[in-house]
Each structure stands twice: as C-alpha cells, then as structure tokens.
C-alpha cells in the first residue's frame, strides 16, 4: 500500500517535468487521494505529502494548469486535518505551499494568483462567518451584503465616483486603501448594527430569512442608488477603483531576487495581503474563542435562557458577534474592490446573489 502510494507520487513527480498536462494532473490528484485516504504509516504519509507538494509545485511551474492548484489546496486541507503528522511538518509544508509554491505557480500563470486571491478572500470570509454561525449559532445569510458594503466603501472614494455627490478631490490616492480597510471595519460594523438590531431579536430561523432579505435589499440599493443622488453609480458599477502604490513592494521583491512585471506585481501583492489578512482573522478567531465573548457566544448558541441566567445579555452579545463577522467581511470587500478595480451589483437577481454568496 505504502509503496504503491509512493510510486504514484513519484510517477507524478516525473510527469510534472515530462508531460505536465491535464492527464498528469488527474494522476497527481489520484496520488494525493491515495496519500490522504489509504492506510499509510504516518511517516510514509508525511513523506508522500512532501513529495506531492514538490511535484504539484513543479507541475504548476511547468504548465500553469490550474488543476495543480486544487492539488495544493488539497494538500493544505490534508495537512490541517489528517492526524499524526508532526507539527513542524505541518507548519513548514503549509508555509512552503502558501509562500513558495503558489507564487512560483503564479509566475507561470497569473491566473493562479487570481484564483489564490479568490480562495483566500473566501477563506477569510468563511473564518469571519465562523464567529457568527459557528460560535454564536446565528444563521446569517446576508453575509455577502457586508462584503458589498466594504467593497463599495472603498470603491466610491477610491474612484472618481465620490465626486458625483461630494465636494472634494476624488479619487483619493491609492494609499488611502489601508485607511479604508479600517473605515470599512467601522462602516460594516455599523451596517451590521443596523441590520442586527431588528433582526437579532428574532428567532433563529427568522433571522435566516431576514438576513437573506436584507442582503437582497443591500443589492437592490447598490443597484438603484444612482438617483436621486448618484452614490453607487447603479448598474454601471464603479471602475477603476484605486490601488495602493507598491513601488516599495517591487523594490523589496527585487532585493529578494523576484522580478515582477505588470501582470504579476499587484497579483503577488494582493495575494500576500490576503494571506496576511487570513492570518489576522485566524488570530482574532482564536483570541475571541478563548475569551469571555467566545464562551458567551457558544453559551447562547447552546441555550439562550441558561446563558441569560448567567448574566449574559442576549442582544448586545449577539450584536457583537454579528458586527465582528460583518467587519471581517467588510475588510475583505475593500481588498476585493482594489484587486478587481471594479465593483458592481449582480447583473440580474439570480441565485446566487452577487458579489459572493456566503458559502
């Protein structure tokens, strides 16, 4: 079993040089499956995963075939979930995938950066959702609305759009994006407050539908607030949205020996930015989970009445969870707007609602 699995990985490694095509990618995914699900000795499994990381990286570098990225994500999942892999291997391999493999692949095909950024944004949002749904047990289906609020917050001021209804010199310079990441935290938290204040008084299932409805309301507003005052530019969307200047980043990468061109510089920058954000969101998650807030949320999820009897006020505590989740979503929205340089409401009221369904 072990030998077969190792052999599969080795074959894939060879193929990643000789014939890095779709067929080979499927073989690689098969090898990954074998490494993850077959009964293997822990040491063999670890070796196997390391080999596959190398193989998928080379495969991506040589082909740019996006299937390889699925392999890397798969390895990440395997590293975080499979038992009995030494901790340092998990960390080293995980970091290697995130900081080396994906960028290497991205230089072969910048669409991989695009995908990586997408996956990263979704991952960060999902982690934010963990506070709301996972800990506090609030069925929030309007989560995407906060993402949109965040995205619009920066898009309006980071483009000439704000000039259409405000005095002043717009667009704001790109550096302001960092400032707006904080402002978006505030605006989305306030939006969360406004939505949560009525919605969180309701029972769980009602909350689901009310948030779904309110998510739709935000979309309708984005689509229609081009008159009487033009705030969102309606269905036309807003473009181009400013990005921060990254000369420092280019020279930094230059000193590291990484040469960037116009198709890769922002992509790598945003990719790393999203990674940093994920790290921060994870940290916040862990901190909150081990605090009185995290415990209060879980207590509310388990039994509202008993939680109240412990002195936990329901509405404020739920609101904090709701606003925390909203803020995470909002920050990612700012990054999304800057990375895409374009925001718009979804073109038609189809399922799933744009810009991104919370799942």
């Amino acid at each position: 079993m072990s030998l077969l699995s190792l052999a599969l990985s080795l074959v894939f490694l060879v193929l990643s040089f000789l014939a890095p095509n779709t067929l080979a990618a499927f073989l690689g995914l098969g090898a990954l499956g074998a490494a993850a699900f077959a009964r293997l000795e822990p040491r063999v499994r670890t070796l196997n995963l390391t080999l596959l990381t190398l193989a998928f990286t080379l495969f991506l570098r040589n082909s740019g075939n996006t299937l390889g990225l699925i392999g890397l994500v798969g390895i990440l999942v395997a590293l975080t979930t499979l038992p009995r892999i030494p901790r340092w291997i998990r960390v080293v391999l995980g970091l290697a995938i995130l900081l080396l493999s994906v960028p290497i692949a991205g230089f072969a095909n910048t669409f991989i950066f695009e995908l990586g950024i997408q996956i990263g944004i979704y991952a960060a949002m999902a982690l934010g959702l963990n506070v709301v749904v996972g800990m506090a047990g609030l069925l929030d289906l309007g989560y995407a609305a906060f993402f949109a609020v965040g995205a619009y917050t920066w898009a309006i001021f980071g483009s000439p759009q704000a000039g259409k209804f405000l005095q002043g010199n717009f667009p704001l310079p790109g550096e302001y994006m960092y400032l707006f990441m904080f402002i978006a935290v505030v605006t989305t938290a306030i939006t969360g407050l406004l939505i949560g204040l009525p919605a969180l008084r309701l029972r769980g299932d009602y909350l689901a539908i009310v948030t779904l409805g309110l998510g739709e309301v935000v979309r309708i507003l984005a689509n229609n607030l081009d008159h009487p005052i033009n705030i969102t530019n309606g269905p036309q969307g807003i473009t181009p949205v400013g990005r921060p200047p990254i000369d420092w980043f280019r020279s930094l990468m230059g000193t590291l020996g990484v040469r960037l061109d116009e198709t890769t510089d922002y992509q790598l920058f945003f990719y790393l930015l999203v990674l940093v954000m994920i790290g921060l969101v994870v940290l916040a998650n862990v901190n909150l989970a081990n605090s009185r807030f995290g415990r209060a949320w879980v207590a509310i999820r388990e039994d509202e009445i008993a939680a109240q009897a412990m002195g936990i006020p329901l509405l404020p505590t739920k609101l904090i969870a709701f606003m925390t989740g909203a803020a995470f979503s909002g920050v990612m929205g700012v990054i999304y707007a800057a990375q895409r340089t374009f925001v718009s409401p979804s073109p038609s009221p189809s399922w799933p609602p744009s810009p991104s369904w919370p799942w």
Binding site: N21, T110, Q236, T263, F342, P347
Partner: protein, 387 residues
C-alpha cells in the same frame, strides 16, 4: 506498461507544444450560456467563420490560427476572471467581444494592463471607448447616438409626444434609456415615466402604471429576454400602444417569447444591421448557414467583421515585424490603423477606438415568425460624438 504509456503520451504532448510555438490565438468572449446565449453564440460563430476563412492565409505566413471562446455569462465578475485568464496565454493576441458593455468595461481594464486588443461587435455604452484605452475598439455605434436616433425617430417620424420609458437596470439598458429620454425631452416630447426594473416575470405593476398614464409609445431599454414576456403580458392585458427598443431586442427570441402576434409592429434601433441591410452579407449568410446550420443575425455579421479587423491588423503587424510573431502592443497599434472594407461598411477607428462612421438602423418587427423579414425603416450614418 501504463507508465510507459504515460511517458509516450507525455513526450508526444511536449512535442506538440514545441511545434505549436507559432500559434496565434484569437479569443471571443460573450455569453454562451444563460439568458443571452442566443446573442452570444452569434458573436462566437461569426468570429469563428472569419478565422476559419483566414487560416490558409496565415499558414502561408507560418502561423497556426486558433479560436479560444470564453463564456462570460453576461456577468462582469466572470468577464474579469476570463480576462485574467486570457492575459496569461501569451498566444492570445486579440479578442472579439464582448456582447455586454457591463462586462466589457471592467474586463478591458484587465486587458489594458498587457495591451491586449479587443474589438467589440456589440458594446454600445459610451463609457467603453470614452476611457480612451489604447486597446479598446468597437465597430458599432454608441448608445448616445442610438438612443437619440430613436428619440428623433419617435418625435419626427412617428410624431408621438408622450412616451413611457422603462429600462432593465443594467449598464446597457439604463444608459440607452437615459440617452433616449434626454434627446426626446430636448426635442419637446415628454417622458411620462422613467422606470427601472429587474423583474423577469411579473410586469403587472408596471403595466398598471402604463394603464394609468396611457402613453403614446413605450420605450424599453433592455434585452429581449425581458422585453419579450413584458410585451406578451402588455398585449394580453389589452394595451395596444406601439413599443420601441434598442439593439437588445434584435433577436428572433424576442418574437418567440412575445408571440408573433404581440411582437408585430414593435420598433427597434440596432447598431448591427440585418443581413438585408448589407449587399455583401448574402453570400456570408449562405456560408454561415452551410457551416452551422442556422441563420446569421446582426451580431454574427459584426463579429465576423470584428474578427477580420483583428486578422488584418495581425497580418500587417507580422509583415512589419519581419514575419515574426508580433507583440500585443504592436497588434493593438495596427488595429487603430486598419482601414477595411467590411461587410458592414468601411471600418476605420478614431483616436478613442470608435468607428469613424457608424451605421444605425431603425427596424420594425414583421411578426411573420422569420426574423429576417423585419422591415428596415431607416439607416442613419453618424460619426461618434467627440467630447
């Protein structure tokens, strides 16, 4: 045994890849699935036909032509993602598309980063070229001419004064409807209402408003998929006033969804004229029908021409480059210099990428069940407004 099989396959694939380094790819991007697929497919097939016909010429120059179709689902997000994919394939040197201005605007920002040229057979929103991106061109007219042209037709030719304006809350539909209203009111007419709706099924509230206002004509800036059922419900509820729309209505699907009886008599302007509007289009229509088994419609013809623009620019660039594969920037520059006698007329670009003289057609639905029977009422040829 199997390993050897893989090895052989691998070596073969490698060889193929090496042999293909002289490949030039031209992409199309249009909705190939979803509500607007009928229009999007015309764009893909029109471009494909042009490329098929040019293949022998390019083979003589030492290049293998390939078409890469992208489906944008009429969704800006998907369009941007596609654009990101495209700029990664160094063999892609030009793009025919898109259908929707809403997709073209953000996607072209991405393409502009690498100067990948696009020639649109359908984008009519002024913003598309008004940003003055060096890689963005179109061979059709603009909504800020199409809308006013419709307004003038309603005011001067039909001599109607009270109009009910509806749009579909998209970049295209709303833009067109606004341009229409502006000119119509400037001429002295009155827009009794200006309403946006994303509704796909229940048009009853709007029909009730129309019943209350009793306008002389309804102008609907939008796509056939919405105007079709709207028209059907309108007529079923006994309202008979004339209807007018823009090029979004220019599809036989409109007649199917509204029903021939209800569709009959509806006016529309289009920037992509029908086969009957162009003397040379007949032969093209026959080739198209022979190859794909269906009729070519306006956007198919324009996509054919748009592809030919890119092909001509490519040929010039290859020549200028001494027979070697040109860069994207070179192709983009050559596109602006093209002067081509196309099926749809003479194609020349101004410094924004607009066609120098665009044609606008006023049409009326015949309601015979055959879209080609639609009556060409008027052709207007106007230069793009210079702001």
């Amino acid at each position: 045994m199997r390993k050897i099989g893989f090895l052989v396959a691998g070596v073969a694939a490698l060889g193929l890849a090496l042999a293909q380094s002289n490949v030039i790819k031209i992409a199309t991007m249009s909705p190939l699935s979803g509500p607007q697929a009928a229009l999007g497919e015309q764009i893909k097939l029109g471009a494909e036909l042009a490329i098929e016909e040019a293949k022998p010429r390019f083979r003589q120059l030492g290049f293998e032509l390939q078409l890469v179709p992208y489906d944008d689902q009429a969704n800006p997000d998907v369009g941007v993602a596609n654009a990101n994919r495209m700029i990664n394939d160094p063999d892609i040197l030009g793009l025919v598309g898109t259908l929707n201005s809403g997709v073209a605007i953000p996607a072209s920002e991405v393409l502009a980063r690498v100067n990948l040229v696009m020639v649109s057979p359908a984008n009519t929103n002024p913003v598309v070229t008004d940003r003055k991106l060096p890689n963005v061109n179109r061979i059709v007219g603009r909504d800020d001419v199409q809308g006013p042209a419709a307004a003038e037709f309603v005011y001067n030719d039909l001599k109607l004064r009270r109009v009910f304006v509806i749009h579909d809350k998209t970049a295209y539909g709303q833009g067109l409807a606004e341009e229409f209203r502006k000119r119509f009111e400037a001429l002295g007419g009155r827009a009794v209402a200006f309403i946006g709706t994303e509704e796909q099924s229940n048009f009853v509230p709007i029909i009730n408003q129309i019943r209350a206002q009793n306008p002389q004509l309804i102008y609907f800036g939008g796509i056939y998929s919405q105007i079709g059922p709207f028209t059907k419900q309108l007529r079923e509820r006994g309202l008979r006033m004339p209807l007018m729309s823009g090029d979004g209505l220019d599809s036989s699907e409109f007649e199917r969804l509204a029903g021939s009886q209800n569709a009959k008599g509806a006016y529309y302007t289009t920037v992509a004229g029908p086969v009957s509007a162009f003397p040379q289009a007949k032969a093209l229509a026959e080739r198209f029908k022979a190859k794909y088994g269906k009729d070519i419609e306006g956007f198919g013809i324009y996509a054919y021409d748009a592809a030919r623009v890119i092909l001509a620019a490519l040929e010039n660039a290859i020549k200028a480059n001494g027979g070697k594969k040109p860069t994207r920037a070179q192709v983009a520059q050559e596109v602006r210099k093209v002067k081509l006698k196309g099926i749809t007329g003479t194609i020349e670009f101004d410094d924004k990428g607009d066609i120098k003289k665009a044609k606008y057609f006023v049409m009326q639905v015949a309601g015979t069940g055959n879209w080609a029977d639609n009556k060409l009422i008027k052709v207007i040829e106007v230069a793009a407004p210079q702001k």
